[in-house]
Symmetry: C2
Subunit: 338 residues, 2 copies
């Protein structure tokens, strides 16, 4: 059996996560039982939700266990199989975690998903045609329900989720406005992804100037907001919401590292008769086939664009993950293992 490098959660962060929270170890992969397959990971997915699980706190998922392999999405290839449904060579997406190989009971429902979509690279099955893409699709279509002509705003607009939200909104005849950190990301969002406007929130450090910039980008107010970050950005967009606006709460990355960030004006939910709804895409598996079909078709035809930040080698995962939390990535963050 091949030697398997793994990254464990060694200790929990106090405040910001650091590389010293993780530990790199090696072990032999166990022999396969009937029904199991050995997957060699080509790519790891790094996602903001992982930071929440590093805390030992109530959340929607169990905390990441200490001393265990960091959990996370993986795209790879079956290299040994004792399961007739998954032959050697099959490309699969699963939750293999931060390691080079995983042994998976492939009969377990949802454990492995075969991916072999024409004109869609394997790494994209962790991003635009994977969990982040479906997250964008679900929050936009099932919570925001935008109508043509409405204004859709999304934070972290150059990221794996945000970039898809804006492009799907454009495809439905909406005005798409992004919020992103830095002029490079904003230029990409407008020039490459086709958003109508993008506000560089780093250029507006106080609430008032950020509001004025957003106002200029959303002259007709905001009907739908897809929330990835929380904090001051959420406060600001909230005060631009039109009556009967819808807010899909997908992430609150701004609060992951420390004290919870308050919402300063909750009364706006009443005054503007807003719907604010949180969701987790893995609880809505019934919509994945429809979403993946649309996303795969759009990527294959070149209509849906995406960008990746690729870190090289398993050992680079902690540093890349911390960079993701600080917004240093540009597009979907993956780790390329081979």
């Amino acid at each position: 059996m091949p030697l398997n490098q793994q990254i464990l959660l060694d200790n929990r962060p106090t405040g910001e996560a650091t590389v010293s929270n993780f530990k790199l170890v090696s072990s032999a992969t166990p022999a396969l039982q009937e029904g199991q397959v050995l997957v060699q990971h080509h790519f790891l997915s790094l996602d903001p939700y992982m930071r929440g699980r590093m805390n030992d706190a109530r959340s929607y998922a169990q905390p990441q266990a200490l001393g265990e392999v960091m959990q996370g999405g993986t795209a790879g290839v079956v290299v040994e199989s004792k399961n007739p449904k998954f032959h050697v060579g099959a490309k699969v997406v699963g939750m293999g975690g931060w390691q080079q190989y995983s042994v998976v009971d492939a009969n377990q429902s949802g454990a492995l998903r075969k991916v072999d979509i024409a004109h869609v690279p394997l790494s994209a099955c962790l991003g635009v045609v994977g969990m982040p893409g479906v997250t964008a699709w679900y929050g936009l279509m099932k919570i925001c329900e935008p109508k043509a002509g409405e204004t859709v705003v999304v934070s972290a607009a150059s990221g794996a989720v945000g970039s898809v939200v804006g492009q799907l909104a454009k495809a439905r005849g909406c005005r798409a406005v992004g919020l992103a950190g830095g002029p490079d990301k904003c230029r990409h969002v407008v020039e490459e992804l086709g958003f109508d406007a993008c506000v560089d929130y780093k250029a507006f450090p106080d609430a008032k100037s950020l509001y004025m910039a957003l106002k200029e980008a959303t002259p007709d107010g905001v009907d739908c907001y897809f929330e990835n970050v929380g904090g001051m950005i959420l406060d600001t967009v909230l005060s631009r919401m039109n009556a009967f606006g819808r807010i899909a709460v997908c992430g609150m990355i701004a609060g992951y590292n420390g004290a919870p960030l308050p919402l300063t004006q909750p009364a706006l939910i009443l005054m503007s008769r807003l719907k604010v709804q949180g969701f987790i895409v893995s609880e809505h598996m019934e919509f994945w086939p429809e979403a993946l079909t649309e996303l795969g078709t759009r990527v294959a035809s070149g209509k849906l664009k995406y960008r990746e930040s690729v870190a090289l080698g398993l050992a680079s995962a902690p540093e890349a993950f911390i960079g993701l939390l600080m917004g240093r990535n540009f597009g979907k963050q993956v780790v390329k293992l081979i």
Copy 2:
């Protein structure tokens, strides 16, 4: 024409509203034009939303104009008529304002609603079988959508809206838990209105003790929350919400007098996958007939109980209104004029 005593908004409050914000004047009622009727008000409705309109600030309604009669719901009797659809003696509910008489163009859609329900007193048409009752019905049925066996919590539980929310929830097989200020109100909510439990929030001045009291009253968590007050109570209930809980935001009376009250942990909306939705019942007129039919039938049959605080005489309206904002009323606050 009869002399008409009126109460005007004389100046806007800075901080808490006071009686000196109002002014009592008298004027003759104008002669009727074709289509108009003269209504003598028997009861004025005092409602928390009026406080928001006293500010010159963005809200869902235009601010109350300075120097004009305070707007508000009224129940009365037609005493003169130049409209064949409203004969003298008809009992009507309208938006006559804080005055003894109003001249109404009765052809205008929605300006006057005839009320003559067997076994339902006129004043109740401003409360349990009126706007507050429909508010309770709409928020509970159309936003919270409680299922039998779920736990429904409502703040200001002894008030005009809250008392109906809990009783309708009980009628649908839910556990109904109130929050109210003081042991008398809490006893009424449980013993008279039939709630399963009531937490006296005045007995728990800090967030932690309030949370523990609410936890005891909601052993299975909270599935639906009908929000009338905001502030610390909203924060506390939010941390008791079950996954996929629904919060109908009807009022945030706690923030009317000054600085907006923050929501301390908005990330719970994501973690618990909550839906938080604000509404204003006057924007959902299509549901009023269904709601009023259920409410009227339940009141007439004695199944839906209500309580009123009655102030006597027009001049008592400002004091009674300020008392309402401070929670000194007990049930629906009306002013009896004759």
